[in-house]
């Protein structure tokens, strides 16, 4: 995962570069929470552009980060969702909680 913090906007961009499954998700979760706690952003964007695979582990990941973001008063957005990933999030109702922009075709 690559992280970038924009001080002036208090914006934290977390670009996930791993495949998201039960095996990898713990590490992604740990890193994301660490970065969010470190910067205390007002907005967190998860960028899925480099995610080549995601199963239902991604649902728990985003719902968990949504709760964490709420706790520290940050908004959560998802960016560059591919078709399969979007379908999985739609199925679970996650997209009703978080904003999405920059859809991949």
């Amino acid at each position: 995962m690559e992280s970038k913090f924009y001080e002036e906007d208090k914006l934290l961009v977390l670009k996930i570069t791993e495949e998201i499954d039960d095996h990898k998700v713990q590490e992604i979760r740990r890193k994301a929470d660490y970065e969010m706690e470190r910067y205390m952003p007002r907005k967190v964007i998860f960028d899925f552009d480099s995610v080549t695979f995601m199963d239902s582990a991604g649902i728990g990941l985003i719902i968990g980060r949504y709760k964490f973001a709420n706790m520290i008063g940050a908004k959560l957005e998802l960016k560059n969702l591919g078709q399969s990933i979007k379908r999985i999030f739609e199925m679970s109702g996650v997209l009703k909680l978080v904003g999405v922009f920059g859809d991949s075709p």
């Binding site: 495949e19 499954d21 039960d22 095996h23 998700v25 979760r29 695979f53 995601m54 199963d55 239902s56 582990a57 649902i59 728990g60 990941l61 719902i63 968990g64 078709q83 399969s84 999985i88 199925m91 679970s92």
Partner: protein, 161 residues
């Protein structure tokens, strides 16, 4: 009566989560013989990943065991059986309900079976408490250039008449 299958493979591995990627990629490589679209391949990978994760996380939980996959190709259809000899599921109907999970504290969404069901054409779950669980699923791969072929045939007919 034994059914004839065009091709078949078996895969067995230890219930380590690092093998989830190995399992889905292997089944996808096998399925590619049916010339699936990228989306169909992604569907198969996701369904396999869900089933294998269930074997590892729920079937064997903290113990270790063998996860077995049998995949068969017949005409334009793939049949996948994923099984464990783990603790089994007490109530299969409840487990298949969306958002049902026995491990909510670990951020598990309870969407595994729902995803398998919607990404594959058929899903069957057999489970005996104390003996294990077997998930059987299948998916038809849509033929690719159907419309183009029709077009060609029509064109030929016109020329001949």
């Amino acid at each position: 009566m034994k059914e004839e299958f065009k091709n078949e493979m078996k895969l067995e591995f230890i219930s380590k989560s690092a093998n989830e990627a190995f399992a889905r990629i292997t089944v996808a490589a096998f399925a590619s013989q049916l010339d699936p679209s990228l989306e169909e391949l992604a569907d198969i990978k996701t369904a396999v990943s869900e089933a294998v994760t269930n074997c590892i996380v729920h079937g064997y939980d903290k113990s270790q065991g063998i996860v077995k996959i049998v995949a068969k190709l017949k005409e334009n259809e793939i049949f996948i059986e994923i099984s464990d000899k783990g603790k089994g599921i007490e109530n299969v109907d409840a487990a298949k309900e969306p958002l049902y999970t026995t491990k909510p504290n670990l951020e598990r969404s309870g969407m595994g079976f729902t995803i398998m069901e919607s990404f594959m054409d058929k899903l069957e779950v057999q489970s005996i408490v104390g003996l294990g669980t077997k998930v059987t699923m299948s998916k038809k791969i849509k033929p690719k250039q159907d419309t183009e072929d029709d077009f060609e045939m029509t064109a030929t007919t016109v020329t001949n008449s």
